[in-house]
Amino acid sequence: MKMKKSIKLLSGLLSVILVAGTLAGCGGKSAAEQSSAGVSSGTAVQSTGAEATAVQSGGEEKTLVAVMWGEQARWDAQKKVNDAFSQKYPNLKIDLQTLPNDTYWTKLQTMIAGGTPPDIAFMQEMLTPTYQAKGIMADLTDYMGKDTEFKKDCMPEGMYGPFTVDGKLYAMPTMTFVNVLFYNKDIFDKAGIPYPDENYTWDTLRDTAKQLTKDTNGDGKIDQYGFSFGAWPNFIFPYIWANGGEFVKDDRKTSVLNSAENVQTFQYLHDLIWKDKVTPSAAANKSNAFDFANGNIAMFDLGSWNVAVYDDKKINYGITLTPKAPNGGRVVNTFPNGWFIVNQSENKEDAWKYLAFNVSEEGQKVAAEGKVGMPANTQIAKSDAYLKSSTTPGVDLGVTLKSAEISRGAYTTSNWSEIESKIWPEFDLIWTKENADVKAVLDSVQTKLQAKVNEAK
């Protein structure tokens, strides 16, 4: 009898432990997340007591949480910037949380919604209207005004543009990328064709590409293409702009997709794939075996972040300006990145110090040497720290400076990700169809695009 009772007691105990274990399991996880999200960044509970006094005295150590997407090279460089920052401000540490590009935005939103917001987060120009409208980006104008050490003219005025909404700055641009024409020197040398240069037009690009599109092993299939481009907004826009067209106008309210210029632009790109056959048909395909890194594309219109990538892969490449449109126009896309202070953060003053440090000559030099892109700071962008940062012989990053002078960003709306996901795929009707009626597609997309733009806040 006693035995039975103790067995029952034991089983009861066990189940209690199990339940407690389950609960502690979830509780433990969130506690760990909170601590990793920074001692003083999150909830009211955390900022009481010692932490609160630390803020005032400024003497005790504090950890700011920063979240960033990117590649390993960029994160490594940012960590060096953070070390330099902590040397200047010994009581401030940066906990850099790195996230893959595709989960970054989800994680950022759930951190904020879950009450453990980061203090500082990375931003790109196209989504600035979206996140500004959600009220998670702190207005930097006041901090900038109060900081006597900060020099606003350390970078060209135009750098601030993409992060400015209604005249107020919401993120501090730290670097930018531009799209440039990458070319594979080995392919050109083998064919005995001179490297592409700044005089290239859409026509010369196509003609050279024709000479470089080859069936090298004679099996009846092309295994080297002359040219390729990405069918993504950032890489199609420069063609639209260069040819005098526009996607959404600068009022961010009117779409003008089906203009005559745009029909010509899309027709040119379509023909590269289907008529001239110098671009792989799977340009927009996920399983694209043709890739600049595989050495089977002679010229590729790509973002300048690939300098670091192809340096690492030891590809013998060069870069030059993208070709001119028939009207002589040349515009490239700029991909500025910057830091913003999360509105829900309780360490905004300290976060500002971090933002200011990032664009100071000291911080920018460290970043430039780590090949994280073209520094926002004019002095550093023109210094060898940046211009000579590629390890591939002959790669002149001065090209990116020239490109930056003729660069711009797109006029996006607060529902941009929806436009990109719902409207943009309609262009597949151009990229994937040999007999595409470009005008008809653009007419139909124009209607849908305007309707979506009207929905934006």
């Binding site: 089983s11 939103q109 990229w431």
Partner: protein, 296 residues
Amino acid sequence: MKKPNNSRERRNLLTGLAFIAPNFIGFLIFSLIPVGASLVLSFSNWDLISPPEFIGIGNYKELFTADPLFWKVLWNTVRYCLMAIPGMMILALLLALLVNQRLRGRMIYRFIYFLPVVTSSIAVSIVWTWMFNTDFGLINQFLSIFNVPSINWLADERTAMVAIATVGIWSSAGYNMVLFLAGLQAIPRQLYEACEIDGGGTIRKFTSVTIPMLTPTTFFVLVMSIINSFQVFDYVYMMTGGAPNNTTKSIVSYIYDNGFQFFKMGNASALSWVLFLIVFSLTYVQFKMQDKWVEY
């Protein structure tokens, strides 16, 4: 449940409850409460950050009247089901019949056919994406033997869903095979003997014994296949991302887009409930109809 009338019974009840508690609490926290919350959220506008705003049936109204993509993804999902479900059931039955034979090394065949079920769908998608590659893919290589011009499988509106359904069939046939195999082995031998005595041949035995006796299994497999196929997501996400022109985007990938790309949680919740109602009604109809064809 009978009301406990003495202390021992009450203790027994408590012990029992304590035993189911871990599972039940887990179910409550990770399933029931979120499901309930999503129903409430489906009547609101919520972007995860600003507080939810109650908008009545606004989300449902938008889906049915103002969102052409909703109808498109619904049709995509139905197309996927129409292609995948017959395929996965017929293939599974054939495989089950095959590995039910007394052939040498049949355990190895069973093992091989079941492998896709336990393989990570991400790995499966990547391998199949390469098989379907236009320029270097195995499938186009194979077809080129018969002078079929190379097909742009995943980027052509006409073939992209076929490709995804093929992967769906390939990866779930093994699981259904095991179910059919169990069903086959539960058929009493004497029924076949009786059929033989009546002069029935192989085909007659299949149509008059195997098929009717398998109907309970077939019913189960059909119901589960429909439920699973309506929720297709991973192959779409990995292989095409919904391209070309959103012709492979399924309901679940649209829910994902709405929730975690556009951060419209209300829309995503409403979509989930619409999907639930579709699957629920289909299952309900099937249970109602089973008297007509399922033999027990």
